[in-house]
Amino acid sequence: MDQSKIRNFCIIAHIDHGKSTLADRIIEQTGLLTEREMQDQVLDNMELERERGITIKAQTVRTIYRADDGEEYVFNLIDTPGHVDFNYEVSRSLAACDGAVLVVDATQGVEAQTLGNVYLALDHDLEILPVVNKIDLPSAQPDETCAEIEDVIGLDAEGCPRISAKTGLNVHDVLEAIVHRLPAPSGDAEKPLKALIFDSVYDSYRGVIIFMRVFDGSVRKGSRIRMMATGAEFDVTEVGIFGAGKFIPADELTAGMVGYLEASIKDLKLSRVGDTVTLAANPCGEALPGYKEPLPMVYCGIYPAETPRYPDLRDALEKLQLNDAALRYEPETSQALGFGFRCGFLGLLHLDVVTQRLEREFDLDLITTAPSVIYKIHKTNGEVVDLTNPTNMPDASEIDYMEEPMVEAEIMLTREYIGPIMTLCQERRGIYEGTEYIEQTRAVLKYRMPLNEIIYDFFDALKSRSRGYASFDYEFSGYERSELIRLDILVNHEPVDALSFIVYAPNAYKRGSQMCEKLKKEIPRQLFDIPIQAAVGSKIIARETVRQVRKDVLAKCYGGDISRKRKLLEKQKEGKKKMREIGNVQVPKEAFLNVLKLDEDD
């Protein structure tokens, strides 16, 4: 396939600026197949073969555009998952592209997420095509928006398409600009195969379906491939391209193309996102950069809100893992919460996605405990153990010293927020390593920080203190010795294991007080005073009290009020069911996670 006729790109935008509307218009105004493909009647094959097919997870779409120059161009529109924030998968999707269409709402101008997206795209050396959208609205200010794009982002907005994705106005300009302003792929089809896995899905009939971008070389059915990171080898059973939401088989995938590959792969762990695919017989010299072994960095306990659903939770985790190689889990027991699992995640976003999927797709009601990182405990007997659950921390007398995981954090932001964000990083024990100025308006702050300081709510704090104009990425960078202790929380004089956490010793007092204050807000008032205490060992370091309810009485209850009274009492009883009983105290299930969100009330 002639690479000069291919454009691999994504659309990036602030939320609600019109990303998906523009994607829809592009698909509408282009075709599904080239003329040659139509003659080959690929469509029939597809329909015959794909009756029981699955829908494509990432909305990766290939469309054919007949440009004004009379040539047909293949557009591979690669969707990036909605959330761009420090997301490894997003970065892999971007790595599969050569360019990006940046949509900016002419009524809103450049917004926080616009910048975050642009920074990420620039990191991958993508050519960026700005598009000013929603010019049909009365409040649109296209000239000002263009000026902002030039001043704030630093992109040339001269002559950029001004469109209404909603009405379709000037969408044609976008298609032409994609042809003329975004680069074609520039790989070498004669070189050994070098392809990037940017996504994959698991299908119970077909096994793993790999989504990939071919940079060099080619691959076809029957080729023996090798995954460079895992070393696993497979025989290719099918390659193909993406139609509108369907898989269309093809003879081969060559340099510059985006498509899918099947090779009867049963284990997702052997074909990881970010890995490089090459030919076993003729491997390429080195893998594409950027592959990360999906190492769980954050652990938390996940428990069913209703104890009898433990087996359902186990089945759900098993199923999720088929599609999510990075998810780890093992059973654990909590005195407060009963049977559950300690689960490992790539980061907080991953944790969030998994818990949401568990709740939505498997209809589970969950209690999630505070996330924790993996600490290394060097015991006095010379043993080194990994600590993923604070409850398992050995007695202080058995501990020689402890280490905690560190990260190199890069925070991209506009200059005006450097002050507040530096303050934030210092509060979170960050060690300043330097500032890089990218352009007049943008800078990158570099910090070395303990991971446990960023897993709770650092990201939220960063967003709120920069009004959204900061984006953030981090990389794991080894362990460092640290002074750590376990903080226990007692509710009504009973220690609650699910609320224990590891804290940097000099911060223990402050964190203890914050936890108590926060719990005071989370635990509803009950019929008696409830003391909430933070303790280190046997020493109480902070205390709050949830005051008892003074009044909860219905003054009037006559003939017409009785059904209503019953409903009120039933609601009362229902509300109680949504709580976890700890000792004789009702604790809402969200409290276990919310207690560690410290910054939101400041």
Binding site: L527, F528, V549, R550, K551, D552, V553, L554, A555, K556, C557, Y558, G559, G560, I562, S563, K565, R566, L568, L569, E570, Q572, K573, K576
Partner: protein
């Protein structure tokens, strides 16, 4: 209790109060008369329903029944007397508001009614204004005098606690005013801000200066102490009476005696079923001659539902619930069913033994009674109701 109660609903008022979420609205004479005729049709159609059981309490409530044309009220009461067997010593209560009582309605009352419940609410001008009441303390005093003059021997006053701006001082003023009239019965209700009322909107906007829980309870105990010192015994959470003057009709609600509701939106408990009449005036006016068509939200109570009600209603009363009554009603031992719950609540200081085989809420139990009473609901899904009802 073999007697039956009758509740007659009059959904009209001179003006809607700011806190009111009852089914009532201002209306013209014609509409009131049309409504009265519809009530007469309903009463006559229900005549056979009681199978000759004796009516020993009647309650004319609203709304404000005293805004009805006296002639219409007479027609209604005549129909009641003709359709049902009324016990000679039946308690017949009519709700009235000060400032709505004219000589004609007074004359009706003296002829047909032996108990009046007067909505005084407060003696404080500003509090009355804040509540959106249309009368003054002087109006209340004058009306009270007129009622006594008309021979109403049994009068109850409604007072309100936790009114916006209310202080211990102003409440003492109201209580002194009320006790000074020497009524037979006093109800003291704490204001509840109900959804959909102007008060709810005002509270949302932060315009309502409501006392906090602590203050509200102080006001409640202040009223209790004041009234008990003057011979008014608290026999239910919010109701106080001189010896022998407890409201028979209201006691029926808490003891789960049968009662038949007549009129728009009126509720009934009859023969193990609860239902409400339609709250839609057009439907009521069309169908009142065929009461089966008025029935809404019909629930046939199963044993479990009846037991739960027995507890959460019975425990509102100072006398509480008795094992004897429980056994008589359900052929079960109270302590077998609820021994654990009662034991636990007693341990928490929320319930106490009030006699041989008798239990009630403690003062603290009353304060948080919603939470206490919820403990008497059983677990598990409700049985669906499949009963055709009484019609």
């Amino acid at each position: 209790m073999d007697g039956v109660g009758l509740y007659l609903h009059f959904p009209f008022c001179a003006r809607k109060c700011l806190y009111c979420d009852f089914l009532s609205f201002p209306a013209g004479e014609d509409e009131k008369k049309l409504y009265a005729s519809a009530m007469v049709r309903e009463i006559r159609a229900c005549a056979d329903l009681l199978h000759g059981r004796t009516v020993d309490s009647i309650f004319l409530g609203g709304g404000t029944p005293s805004v009805m044309p006296a002639g219409s009220m007479r027609e209604i009461m005549r129909a009641v007397n003709e359709s049902f067997r009324i016990s000679p010593d039946a308690e017949i209560t009519m709700e009235m508001n000060p400032g709505t009582v004219n000589p004609r309605i007074l004359s009706f009352a003296s002829e047909y009614v032996n108990r009046v419940s007067l909505g005084v609410q407060s003696a404080d001008r500003e509090e009355l204004g804040a509540l959106g009441r249309i009368h003054s303390a002087e109006d209340a005093e004058r009306t009270f005098g007129m009622l006594r003059g008309a021979g109403i021997g049994n009068i109850s006053l409604d007072l309100m606690l936790a009114v916006p701006g209310q202080t211990e001082q102003s409440l003492l003023g109201t209580l002194g005013f009320a006790a000074g009239l020497m009524p037979d019965h006093i109800s003291c209700y704490s204001l509840i801000v109900e959804d959909g009322t102007p008060f709810a909107a005002m509270e949302e906007r932060g315009e309502l200066d409501l006392p906090d829980e602590e203050t509200e309870r102080k006001l409640y105990y202040l009223a209790r102490g004041f009234l008990e010192d003057r011979g008014y015994r608290r026999y239910e959470i919010s109701n106080f009476a001189k010896q022998g003057r407890s409201c028979r009709h209201n006691m029926r609600y808490w003891k789960r005696g049968d009662y038949l509701g007549i009129g728009l939106g009126a509720s009934s408990l009859f023969d193990h079923s609860r239902w409400k009449n339609t709250p839609v005036m057009r439907e009521y006016l069309e169908d009142s001659g065929d009461p089966g068509r008025l029935v809404r939200e019909l629930t046939r109570l199963d044993l479990r539902g009846e037991i739960e009600e027995f507890m959460f209603l019975g425990l509102r009363m100072d006398e509480g619930v008795s094992g004897d009554d429980f056994r008589e009603n359900f052929s079960l031992e109270l302590t077998d069913v609820y021994g654990d719950v009662i034991g636990r609540l007693a341990e928490e200081g929320l319930m106490e033994k009030s006699g041989r085989d008798r239990f009630r809420l403690t003062d603290r139990g009353v304060d948080v009674s919603n939470r206490v009473l919820a403990e008497f609901l059983f677990d598990g899904p409700e049985d669906p109701s499949g009963s055709p009802g009484p019609f």
